[in-house]
């Protein structure tokens, strides 16, 4: 039985263990693969190394540092370890090491960050080595016991066989001896074409608990004596909490305490969350909203439009030739302006964290996409050193980038600090979650294309204007002020490279940062950049009477991987062949997160305003596919996320505040609106790309291009609800 198990490492055991191991821990870039002193899990079972614990009954416990938020990498990473370990998959369970344990062991599990579609691609190498190293040690232990050369032994399905004699033993029987061996200095990883566990559509390891209600998300945490908190932060970002009239709610049932949280928020702590929320709603609060209360969507849009003017300063993200001169001298050119709004992540589980603070310890239980960032937030908010802090990670009820931020963790600690010894669960209402987001950045884009006399694209100028996520979230990552991530999907090279060669190309970004806090929103800058480029490619093709696929192909000869996914989609959807009566097609491609993706949509339109999406074909080349069933689910889900944003999304600003407060004003797709999604996976090998995000980029432009094919009307503004266009 496969079961996701919460962390159970015995702290004392590993502290003793790591102290004894000493220098062994410095091996392998702080990613140790074992050592002479045995480190034990809470139940006493030995670690073969940080990634693999084996119990005497042959249960294999695989440690997973990255967070599971639905994307399936908990299962995928376990498959990669199990593949190299040659263990019995039916005996695999997983467990999260805690960030505190990792820090105490010199980051034994490496990076915990789970964003940027990197859960698997950036840890596949060392987790596979963890599995392979453990296998070598287990085989060696058996060989030692039998006094035979290890080279005469093989391992499969958790069984070790001495081939000449036919003797066998199991991992559980030799693990004690294996855990005492020196790890091999180097191990050879399997060629993916020989994979038996990885690369297969195995079932997820966390499904049963998610169908019985047994899975404990952060919001479900219960601790003895725990109280519950509801919070309101100043709805104008950057504003402050001026005052609140505590006396007005003093007699309300269950209320224990009203506390300031930082300089901008107030929380009510009560016996139940319902009591806390009810009292908070009744609490008179005065905000000092500040200057930002003058900001509106209109004022932001005006500022961004100014940035489209070539006279304004801009950072250059990609250029070759002289696009401005080529456009100025061209006989034929077209220009279009697009825009993309703020979006809220809207994880189904609102932000929450439970904190227990005492004078010498601070523990937090929460869902987080980055255990180490949450841990750092606990240290900072509690003022306690690392050895007195801990974060217990829970499965996330959605992440989409939002839970990479730690604002809710800091708040929980700030509240708990005012109630030492009492665990407090902070839960945001949906309304708080909607107005205190870290929003998909707002941007506009002016695109200009110029043709030569033979109607070949001679120049392309993409001028972005708008918000930088890095400027707000990770300013140290700016390059001389420039945000390189702003050019995702439009970059000259790297893991988000443009797929077209144009003789004269200029891609630039006029950075304008409104007061609304931005964040990494699943797909990030690929989302709008792919709409801008791929819808404009469609415009360019139609302007010279060319087929949109043929037009693209002419520009893609130097981008064979981009072209391969485009071709795969075009073929599967029947591009160039008649569509069913009344059905129209659109197509788009982009590269993001190291993967090449394309999508095509078949839609019909009623009265120009009711869109039925009948069918989607999507292709992905992520290099390697670790679990095709999960990749398919990520691709299908990407259309729900991307098309929800296109049709229903968009957060607007009035008086400095976000106006959308719940699903009544920020709707999300339902099953009736879900098209059939067909996936064509074309993994070409030799690189590792991500799959959780890139496909979102092609969802909207594929549908928008199909809408143009159906109606002759070009939509350059998101969301569609603002134009009274909706699902049929």
């Amino acid at each position: 039985m496969n079961k996701h198990v919460m962390p159970t490492l015995n702290r004392r055991a590993f502290v003793i263990g790591t102290a004894a191991v000493g220098a062994g821990l410095s091996l392998g870039l702080d990613l140790p693969f074992g050592g002479p002193a045995v480190v034990r899990a809470a139940d006493g079972s030995p670690e073969v190394n940080a990634w693999v614990v084996i119990r005497p009954d042959d249960t294999v416990v695989i440690r997973i540092a990255r967070s599971e938020m639905g994307q399936g990498s908990l299962t995928g990473l376990a498959q990669l370890v199990a593949e190299e370990l040659e263990c019995d998959w039916s005996k695999v369970i997983t467990e999260y090491p805690t960030p505190g344990q990792s820090v105490a062991r010199k980051r034994a599990w490496g990076d915990f960050s789970t964003g940027g579609s990197r859960g698997i691609r950036s840890s596949q190498d060392y987790v596979r080595k963890g599995g392979a190293t453990a296998r070598v040690m287990l085989v060696q232990a058996a060989a030692n016991e039998w006094k035979v050369p290890a080279s005469e032994c093989t391992a499969a399905n958790s069984v070790i066989t001495h081939t000449p004699s036919g003797k066998t033993t199991t991992y559980g029987k030799v693990v004690e001896a294996a855990a005492k061996l020196e790890p091999p200095a180097d191990v050879k990883l399997k060629d993916p074409k020989d994979w038996k566990i990885a690369g297969k559509p195995l079932k997820r390891l966390d499904t049963v608990e998610k169908t019985t209600g047994a899975m404990i998300y952060g919001v479900d945490v219960k601790l003895p004596g725990m109280l519950n908190a509801a919070i309101k932060d100043c709805p104008v970002f950057g504003g402050k909490l001026k005052s609140f009239d505590e006396a007005r709610i003093a007699g309300m049932k269950g209320v224990k305490k009203v506390v300031r949280v930082g300089d901008s928020a107030v929380a009510v702590v009560a016996d139940t969350w319902w009591h806390a929320k009810t009292a908070l709603d009744a609490l008179p609060i005065v905000w000092d909203e500040g200057e930002n209360a003058k900001v509106s969507s209109e004022s932001i849009a005006k500022w961004l439009t100014e940035g489209l003017d070539n006279a304004q300063p801009a950072y250059i993200g990609n250029q070759n030739g002289d696009a401005k001169a080529a456009i100025a001298g061209a006989a034929r050119k077209i220009e279009a302006v697009y825009n993309y709004p703020y979006q809220n992540h809207v994880t189904m589980e609102p932000m929450n964290a439970t904190a227990l603070y005492t004078s010498d310890k601070c523990e937090v239980w929460c869902g987080t996409q980055n255990g180490e960032a949450a841990f750092a937030a606990v240290l900072e908010a509690s003022g306690l050193p690392a050895e007195k802090c801990e974060v217990h990670k829970h499965i996330l009820g959605g992440g989409f980038g939002r839970r990479g931020m730690t604002d809710y963790v800091r708040q929980a600690v700030a509240i708990a600090k005012q109630m030492p010894g009492t665990p407090v669960k902070l839960l945001w209402s949906r309304e708080e979650d909607m107005v205190q987001g870290k929003y998909h950045p707002v941007t506009q884009c002016k695109l200009t294309g110029a043709f030569d006399a033979d109607n070949n694209l001679a120049a392309l100028h993409v001028r972005l204007s708008g918000q930088s996520i890095l400027f707000s979230v990770r300013p140290a990552a700016l390059e001389n002020g420039k945000d390189p991530v702003a050019f995702q999907g439009l970059s000259p090279s790297g893991d988000a490279a443009i797929g077209y060669s144009v003789p004269n190309l200029l891609v630039e970004h006029s950075m304008r940062n409104p007061h609304v806090p931005p964040g990494f929103w699943r797909g990030v800058n690929v989302n709008h950049n792919a709409i801008y480029l791929e819808c404009f490619m469609d415009e360019l093709a139609h302007s010279v009477g060319q087929d949109p696929v043929e037009f693209r192909r002419k520009l893609m000869s130097k981008h064979p991987k981009h072209l391969a996914v485009l071709n795969a989609v075009a073929e599967k959807i029947g591009w160039g062949k008649p569509a069913p009566q009344g059905v129209y097609r659109g197509i788009a491609q982009v590269m993001g997160y190291g993967s090449y993706v394309a999508g095509a949509a078949e839609i019909s339109v009623t009265d120009g305003s009711k869109i039925k999406v009948h069918r989607i074909v999507a292709s992905t080349d992520p290099g390697y596919v670790v679990n095709p069933a999960q990749v398919e689910r990520q691709i299908a889900g990407s259309f729900v996320y991307g098309l929800s944003a296109l049709f229903y999304g968009g957060c607007t600003v009035k008086d400095g505040k976000i106006e959308q407060t719940n699903f009544d004003s920020y709707n999300s797709m339902r099953i009736a609106e879900m098209p059939k999604v067909e996936c064509v996976m074309v993994p070409s090998g030799g690189f590792w790309g991500g799959v959780g995000e890139p496909t979102i980029g092609v969802a909207a432009p594929a549908v928008l291009n199909a809408y143009f094919a159906a109606t002759g009307k070009r939509i350059r503004s998101v969301p569609l609800r603002d134009q009274n266009i909706t699902f049929a």
Binding site: D220, W274, F663
Partner: protein
């Protein structure tokens, strides 16, 4: 104070009668499989059965639910612990991603199948209006048909 009959057991809960059933189930009874998603009966994460009918528990009060038969996700499996056929279909089709909306989704589907044992795609579109942000709808639809044919 109210008597709630949940998963066949009658429990006395010390809450005001206007408390949403969702919060009594989660906080007073301690069954956390029923999830909070919106609080305004739009997302369906809190769906339970009240006298066999799928209802959004954030939208009905303890007072209204008292004396009625309430079933939560924890009570959907049989007394012998065997998963309900909808849960079995969910496992067979590997439906959940993050899983947070799935308790409500499963409860809505279980109620649909009681009413319409062999639902058409159109029946599904009309009856299942739960929000899933991960986007599991394709697998949800497949699993509903799997359960209907089980």
């Amino acid at each position: 104070m109210a008597n709630l009959t949940i998963n066949g057991k009658t429990i006395n809960v010390d809450v005001e009668a206007d408390t949403p059933l969702l919060w009594a189930i989660r906080e007073n009874v301690g069954l956390t499989g029923t999830k909070y998603g919106c609080g305004i009966a739009l997302c369906g994460a809190c769906t339970v059965h009240v006298d066999g009918v799928a209802m959004r528990s954030c939208g009905i009060s303890v007072g209204e639910a008292a004396g009625k038969q309430i079933t939560t996700i924890e009570g959907l499996a049989g007394n012998n612990g065997a998963l309900h056929r909808v849960q079995q279909a969910w496992v067979a089709n590997d439906v959940p991603q993050c899983g947070y909306c799935q308790s409500g989704m499963i409860m809505a589907v279980a109620a649909l199948l009681k009413e319409k044992p062999k639902p058409t795609d159109q029946d599904i579109d009309e009856a299942i209006t739960n929000i899933c942000r991960c986007g599991t709808f394709q697998q949800v639809r497949e699993a509903i048909h799997t359960a209907a044919n089980a």
